[in-house]
């Protein structure tokens, strides 16, 4: 039968999109943190630092954005037809976010 592995061009495209979506997720998380700071919520500064709780949320939001993006581009059913289950492309799309957040927390 046909391939079960995700096609290589798809992998490359997902990793690239993952970077862009991580930037969007990070910006939205930072915006929320800025609002929290203005509102005087304690711990906002600490939370926005790499490795903080907002790093976790940046990765989670990136995963959600990857899923939405796959649906928007009609790619989920295409991948399903290739035997690829939904978590697979979402995890691939999360890889850049996870890597960058880990690197940033190490460099902190």
């Amino acid at each position: 039968m046909s391939t079960v592995r995700m096609p290589a061009p798809f992998l490359a495209r997902l990793l690239f999109r993952g970077i862009i979506l991580w930037v969007l997720a990070r910006l939205s998380v930072l915006a929320l943190a800025a609002v929290a700071r203005v509102a005087g919520i304690s711990g906002a500064d600490q939370a926005t630092a790499p490795g903080g709780i907002l790093s976790f949320w940046a990765v989670v939001i990136t995963a959600a954005l990857v899923l939405v993006d796959l649906k928007r581009r009609n790619e989920l059913m295409l991948l399903h037809n290739l035997g690829v289950i939904t978590p697979h492309p979402v995890l691939v799309g999360m890889v850049p976010a996870l890597t960058i957040e880990i690197v940033l927390s190490v460099l902190r």
């Binding site: 039968m1 391939t3 061009p9 059913m77 399903h80 037809n81 939904t86």
Partner: protein, 232 residues
């Protein structure tokens, strides 16, 4: 001929209301079958259950001889099931040729299938650049290149010109002739009845095996409740 896919005595309820009860769908290798029914009769629900996209509340799905209480589409796809939904199947990010290459076709196979489905001039275009008829032909080309053991196509003739419908129905016959079990749905009754080997009628949440198209056309209830006075 063998039964590749059997959705047996399937039931589905939403908010305690059964929308399907004791409905069955069979796909047999080498045959093109039609699942016909009025809007809201439950045929799309039955189709999605058979494809493993929806969990049934009763009954089961048997694919390649193995009974699955909860069939999941990507896992069935690995075993040769192909599902063409009623909306876009192909990605808007890749050209048709790139997407066809995902199924690792043999040398020259893409060009052969593209010629067969009259999409050769669009191989380097993306799906959103095509008309609905061209897009539908491209989706069936993808299905053809996959060489599935069972193909389920939900309303493949919707919004396509008669010429496109003729090409698509010819492609389904060709896919079935290669040993695949094909099931299609739709409301383009004259064209569908002229092309399929067997009709299953879905009405009021259950199904009836009508047999070959000529048998369906002579069934009084089918004619009265589905085809209408003009006979489809």
């Amino acid at each position: 001929m063998r039964e590749v896919l059997v959705a047996d005595c399937v039931g589905k309820k939403y908010d305690d209301k059964w929308v399907l009860h004791s409905a069955s769908l069979r796909a047999t290798s080498g045959e093109v079958r039609a699942l016909l029914g009025r809007n809201g009769a439950g045929k799309s629900t039955l189709f999605r259950i058979a494809a493993g996209l929806l969990a049934p509340d009763a009954g089961n799905v048997r694919f390649n001889g193995v009974v699955r209480e909860r069939a999941r589409f990507p896992l069935l796809a690995r075993e040769g099931l192909c599902f063409v939904p009623d909306h876009d199947l192909l990605s808007t990010s890749f050209s048709l040729r790139q997407q066809f290459q995902f199924v690792r076709p043999g040398a020259g196979e893409i060009e052969r299938v593209a010629d067969r489905l009259s999409i050769a001039p669009f191989l380097d275009a993306r799906s959103h650049e095509l008309s609905s008829g061209e897009r539908r032909r491209a989706e069936i080309a993808f299905a053809m290149l996959r060489r599935p053991v069972c193909l389920l196509a939900d309303e493949p003739l919707r919004n396509v010109a008669p010429m496109d419908a003729e090409i698509l129905l010819g492609a389904f016959t060709e896919i079935a002739d290669a040993g695949c079990a094909v099931v299609i749905t739709g409301h383009e009754v004259p064209a569908i009845l002229a092309a399929v080997n067997h009709v299953t009628w879905c009405t009021a949440g259950t199904t009836y095996e009508m047999g070959p198209p000529f048998m369906a056309r002579t069934d009084e209830r089918f004619v009265r409740d589905y085809l209408g006075s003009r006979g489809g």
